[in-house]
Point group: C2
Chain length 351, copies 2
């Protein structure tokens, strides 16, 4: 996967007269300007950003979606990505989950004093490439610097806007008994990748975060199936179990999934076992859950499997009229258990 | 000013089964839901927020503006406001400076583990009232919690969108020699209020932050003067000097202001002298600079003075063809000096 490695080779850091970011770089004064002019604006260049006003001005016809997320993940570099890519993909995906075509993102940095400029550059390059892959532009931003020790290198907020797909009608109110529950790819990779990096664990297989933009796949599916798609949700923090529980509660319907149908790599499954984690509660950053009309299930899965992010897509269960507000998991060797929202904090700072 | 005191009296905190915010409240799971359901959603209630999807969906006709800011101010409670009010007003003002009518905000919390729920509640109530005063809705949000010591109680990102005023044509490219420079109110209050609180300084007069929403005044002015207004900018970090320097550089024109015309209270001026600070470089949070056609100067100032936030508005100088890219300040007893962008970091974490 070209995206993961050596991104900075194609965008070398310019020569600068400073090596680390200082409080002055967050002053809004001369040093902030120097920081931004040394390469940030060039790297993320587009006409709207070039205007350098307090905000960006543009037009979005028809219904639009608006979303925000802050990223506080530690470590900021991890197998499969960095906090910059994650911040772009995460907000792109939140917009896509609304049935929108993401267009413009904002970028708010909270940087810890002393962050090596090289690391900041690597994050920026991650942002650049993630934005290009997703087809979005960074159009407005903000840079703050906090005292040493008062952040883990960097926190990033991205907010975003996009035009709702004209054929989309995404709402938990559209879900009905009989609908099928599709998951777009292998689950639990992100959480396990972060944990293995943080705890210095080594597994037989290299486990990487699944961070990826889901918007292109979502657009293709909406083009084809429109209102047949009732809901999209991305199971990030709290994992698949938390999202399915939320959906059951909001829709006031039951949900049943089958453990044996859950797509997961052997490596991730083995790591979960070793760590005593249930993969249903582990975070994902490149997976969505779709709830679709039963009539389109097969075609939907077929088309999704043709997309980069959907090769391992499958149907994992359905919406039922029984046990409203509860999501159940049918075990492989019989037995069923109720899913819940993640009760405590399995792995803090996962995104 | 009713807004400043005892806001929580009218919105008492509900009884909760926890006193402080823990890492689990940022898990995206059960505790996050409990935190949001115990009052956050109620306090900020509106139809778009109630949808509780990954983003909010709405329509904005015509041109729109989009802006973002993160707030890392310390302390989070200060004379004249708190970080919540500041976060709402700041992004509202950024949108207004684009000539837009702010409509919807996102709200991203990064909370330090251990933050007393009472303090969080007070911040939330500040957000609620600031949003009401500005006439904007909080429509989407995100809550993260970081380990104790890894943030100063709370950082907040707000991003916002609004419809550009149909009569607005705000651009640095519209500025021309002869234009007048108007400042909307007394300068340097915010920076001095924060510094006095942080350093436990006592001045003879109580100095309060000027944090306030500027959008209503901006709308009234745009209604009346439309394209006669060439630029709005709010002199936050870096103060009036930094903003005027930026404008001169971007417009490739000269700027001249007169020290004697600068509106400033005696208390703030005295405090600046005592602290060795130039008020032109001190942060403001409820003041804007407008650059307007000379023909409308007097009417503009008259109308602005009728607005809550504009009582002390006045013309401080003009745009000139001489010394392009430089802003000069004519001293009270003669002599002039070049203004610059704030060179270092006068007062970190001011917003």
């Amino acid at each position: 996967m070209e995206k993961k490695y050596n991104m900075t080779l194609s965008c070398p850091m310019p020569k600068l007269d400073f090596d680390v970011i200082t409080l002055g770089h967050g002053s809004g004064g001369l040093l902030t300007h120097k920081l931004l002019e040394t390469g940030v604006f060039d790297l993320l260049k587009n006409d709207l950003l070039d205007a350098k006003h307090d905000g960006a001005v543009f037009e979005i016809e028809g219904k639009m979606a608006f979303s925000t997320d802050s990223y506080v993940i530690t470590p900021i570099f991890f197998p499969g990505g960095n906090i910059g890519e994650l911040a772009v993909n995460g907000t792109v995906n939140d917009l896509a989950m609304c049935g929108a075509l993401p267009k413009y993102l904002s970028l708010g940095f909270i940087i810890e004093e002393g962050l090596p400029m090289e690391e900041f550059w690597e994050v920026l390059v991650g942002i650049k490439f993630a934005a290009e892959r997703a087809g979005v532009q960074i159009v407005t931003g903000d840079t703050k610097v906090v005292d040493k020790g008062k952040a883990d290198k960097i926190y990033i907020n991205t907010s975003g806007v996009g035009a709702v797909h004209p054929k989309a009608n995404i709402s938990v109110n559209n879900i009905k008994a009989g609908d099928k529950i599709i998951v777009s790819g292998n689950i639990a990779s992100h959480g396990i990748a972060i944990m293995s990096k943080r705890e210095n664990l080594e597994f037989e297989s290299d486990i990487e975060s699944d961070t990826a933009a889901l918007n292109h796949a979502v657009k293709t599916l909406l083009d084809q199936f429109g209102e047949g798609i009732h809901l999209f949700r991305d199971p990030t923090r709290g994992g698949v179990a938390t999202v399915l529980t939320e959906i059951a509660e909001q829709a006031e319907l039951g949900i049943e999934i089958n453990q044996r149908d859950l797509p997961i790599t052997e490596g991730v499954e083995g790591a979960c076992e070793m760590l005593g984690l249930d993969p249903l509660y582990v975070a994902n950053e490149g997976v969505f859950i779709a709830i679709v009309d039963a009539k389109i299930e097969k075609e939907f899965v077929d088309l999704l499997r043709q997309q980069d992010v959907g090769a391992n897509a499958c149907c994992i269960g359905e919406v039922v009229g029984d046990h409203p507000k509860k999501a159940l998991n049918n075990g492989i060797i019989g037995g069923r258990r109720v899913l819940n929202m993640l009760p405590g904090e399995q792995l803090p700072r996962i995104c």
